[in-house]
């Protein structure tokens, strides 16, 4: 294995060897499709939007009105962007603090392979399968203060009708509820898969040693599934940065632009208003944020769990 990189071999000899053992052929055949697709559909648009972000451009014709960093300045000074960034952080927090523990709790209850557990798993996983827009619409009926479930509850309790989605203080809490409901099943599945691979004998050994259920969870199962938790947290954070399609049918960013995330902000203020340059700048900011999170997360958490 090591002689492939042997410095004593001449370059020519190495090339010949590489050709004869098929590596170069493999690279030549397998690399281009991925490389071309990635360049065309990921790198090129990224570069383009970075370029557009320096223009005040409405999407018609070629961008001509170069404004330097004006778009970035306007975004960073825009109160709605501050709210949107704050909301995005709230979703990250709620995902980590509420959604993941809930998913773990349920996973611990139903990870064993029994018919009833399979049924529960299916039920808990259903929200995740549902299309986001459909979920948003369903919940907008639930929260409807005139005809929805909320209305029935309020009437049953003798309260006045409440309109959660039109209340600037509560609308975002409602959205976070929907997000937790929608995605906890996904994290639960990750944990279930990981929990099923925890060696049964270790759990039994702990039991024999007199460990209570909570102690088994705390000292045996959770340490075993730490890589899975790290991965699920990673998905939770990246997912939170991308929340979009649940919000549009629920509140469309309202009332008073209080329930935007960075992505709905980009869509509303960039695309629908045809401020393509401005929207591109938001996209660049989001991209930088996501990449930073990804790199740091990989460096810090994923490594430690692997070690």
């Amino acid at each position: 294995m090591t002689h492939a990189a042997d410095p004593r071999l001449s370059a020519r000899a190495r090339l010949r060897r590489a050709l004869s053992n098929g590596r170069v052929t493999a690279v030549l055949i397998l690399l281009p499709p991925a490389l071309i697709l990635f360049t065309l559909f990921v790198m090129l648009p990224l570069g383009e939007s970075a370029w557009f972000s320096f223009f005040n451009w409405n999407g018609y014709g070629a961008p001509e009105d170069f404004v330097g960093l004006d778009n970035y300045e306007r975004i960073l000074g825009h109160s709605v962007f501050h709210t949107a960034a704050g909301n995005t952080l709230k979703i990250v927090a709620i995902s980590l603090v509420v959604q993941m523990p809930l998913a773990l709790f349920l996973a611990l209850l139903i990870y064993r392979k029994t018919p009833t557990n399979a049924l529960f798993r299916l039920v808990f996983f259903l929200p995740y399968i549902l299309a986001e827009v459909a979920a948003g619409l369903i919940w907008s009926f639930v929260f409807d203060g005139n005809y929805g479930v909320t209305a029935s509850i309020a009437q049953g309790l003798g309260f006045e009708n409440v309109f959660i989605l039109s209340d600037p203080d509560w609308a975002f809490a409602a959205i976070m509820t929907v997000i937790v409901w929608k995605y906890f099943g996904f994290h639960m599945m990750i944990y279930i898969a990981a929990l099923q691979s925890v060696p049964e004998d270790q759990i039994e050994a702990a039991r024999i040693e007199g460990a209570r259920r909570t102690q088994v969870v705390r000292y045996v199962q959770i340490p075993h599934i730490r890589p899975a938790i790290a991965v699920s947290a990673f998905f939770a954070i990246i997912g939170a940065l991308q929340v979009f399609d649940v919000i549009i049918p629920l509140t469309n960013g309202g009332p008073s632009n209080q329930t935007h995330t960075i992505v709905t902000y980009l869509y509303t203020f960039g695309l629908t208003r045809l401020n393509i340059g401005f929207g591109s700048a938001v996209g660049v900011i989001l991209f930088v944020g996501a990449v930073t999170v990804a790199i740091f997360y990989q460096r810090i958490f994923m490594k430690r769990t692997e070690a």
Binding site: N56, Y60, G61, N146, G254, P255, S256, T268, R273
Partner: protein, 420 residues
């Protein structure tokens, strides 16, 4: 040498012949419409094709929001339509500036433009050149449920001023009737209030003056007064509970279900609101009335009381369109086809004298309003372009909720205008 030149001549003549008989395709892009309107358009296309051999007309329909976001990209591609639906105004100006449209004055049949009212043509004119044609006009009015106003003892005939209207709202509230339904989540239904009040306060030229940067632009006193008057209304809490999370479609159905006395909406809502009602029938015609947006007493500038707000919707012609496309446009807009649309009550035709076969009393009333209007202002959210328009929708919703002052609202619109 003889044969090749013969072959060349044959090939040339084949080419020429081919060109003469070649199919010219006119592509038309339209925001999605209902089945009746689609049938109407297809019929026109067929009639045109029958008269013009070698020309085919194909319509494509795209849903409203998708249409607005796809159009700029489409216009830059080779797949750009020859003729496309337009709301006129600033969007047309931007499209002309980017070089996507072509002037059609010279391509229209002699005297054709004279059949269309000047105000309609203006919406498709940039620097005295015509880039499209208007097809129909719409007006925003207070649809009124007379059963409810009667129940509360409100006489809508007597409502002339904004103060009268506010008093009527209070009277309805006191009688336990929801005065107004509004689709606040979509925001644009609320922007009608601010726009109308700005027109009433500032006179017919208030918008064009502001665009030209005269008299303080959008921070002119008229716009601030509009915000103030709007908030006088919203402080009465006139809308149905949760109106800010209600969509236009829901609100329209609610009005048809009798959930409120007024609904400020375009004349186009006449049929759709019935379809959206729980019963599918809506309100009977004898419980329905139209109330023009009232005048304000003591306006900032005079002349606004006879202005109307609405749309002048029509078609624009892209730069790559063949002359046949303009021929088709003129054909589609000829008096016969316009009259037919009026007869079928699809829309209120804009060409002069073609609305004479309409029978629907509401459409006739709206047509009279528009004809008598001193100035027909296109919806601000269309007229001022996507960005400024959306800002006006935003500030209207914020004003309604009382989370913004009239001064801040005007300043935000001006800022959006400066940075458009």
């Amino acid at each position: 040498m003889k044969y090749p030149s013969l072959a060349l001549a044959a090939a040339l003549s084949a080419l020429a012949g081919g060109a003469a008989q070649a199919q010219t395709e006119v592509t038309v892009l339209r925001v999605a419409v209902n089945d009746e309107q689609q049938a109407y358009l297809e019929q026109i296309a067929e009639a045109f094709e029958a008269q013009n051999e070698g020309v085919t007309v194909s319509f494509e329909y795209v849903a409203n929001e998708a249409y607005k976001s796809r159009l700029p990209t489409l216009l830059q591609s080779d797949a750009r339509p020859d003729v496309f639906y337009s709301w006129g105004g600033q969007t047309v100006v931007e499209q002309v500036e980017a070089g996507f449209l072509q002037p059609i004055d010279a391509l229209l049949p002699e005297g054709f433009a004279d059949t269309i009212p000047e105000a309609g043509l203006q919406a498709y004119m940039v620097e005295d050149q015509l880039y499209g044609l208007p097809q129909y006009a719409t007006e925003v009015v207070f649809w009124t449920n007379t059963a409810l106003t009667d129940q509360a003892g409100v006489d809508i005939e007597a409502i002339e001023s904004w103060d009268d209207f506010l008093a009527a709202v209070q009277q309805l509230k006191d009688a336990g009737v929801t005065p107004i339904v509004a689709g606040g989540q979509d925001k644009w239904p609320l922007h009608f209030y601010w726009s109308y009040l700005a027109l009433r306060e500032g006179g017919p030229s208030v918008i064009t003056d502001a665009m030209a940067g005269e008299t303080g632009g959008f921070e002119n006193e008229a716009f601030i007064a509009a915000g103030r008057e709007f908030q006088r209304l919203t402080e009465l809490e006139p809308f149905q509970p949760g109106y800010i999370a209600t969509t236009y479609e829901t609100a329209s159905g609610m009005f048809a279900d009798g959930a409120g006395a007024f609904h400020l909406m375009g004349d186009w809502d006449y049929l759709p609101m019935r379809e959206r009602s729980t019963s599918g029938e809506g309100l009977p015609d004898d419980q329905l009335a139209i109330l023009s947006f009232p005048a304000v007493t003591d306006p900032v500038a005079p002349g606004g009381e006879a202005a109307t707000l609405g749309g002048i919707n029509g078609w624009a012609v892209s730069n790559s369109a063949e002359p046949e496309a303009v021929e088709f446009l003129a054909f589609m807009m000829n008096a016969e086809n316009q009259r037919e649309a009026g007869r079928q009550e699809l829309f209120i035709p804009i060409a002069e004298g073609t609305a004479d076969e309409m029978e629907n009393p509401f459409y006739i009333e709206v047509a009279e309003h528009i004809a008598a209007s001193s100035f027909h202002q296109i919806f601000l959210d269309q007229f001022l372009g996507a960005s400024v328009g959306a800002t006006i929708n935003d500030i209207s919703a914020d004003l309604a909720q009382g989370v913004m002052t009239p001064e801040d609202a005007a300043a935000q619109v001006q800022e959006a205008w400066d940075f458009r």
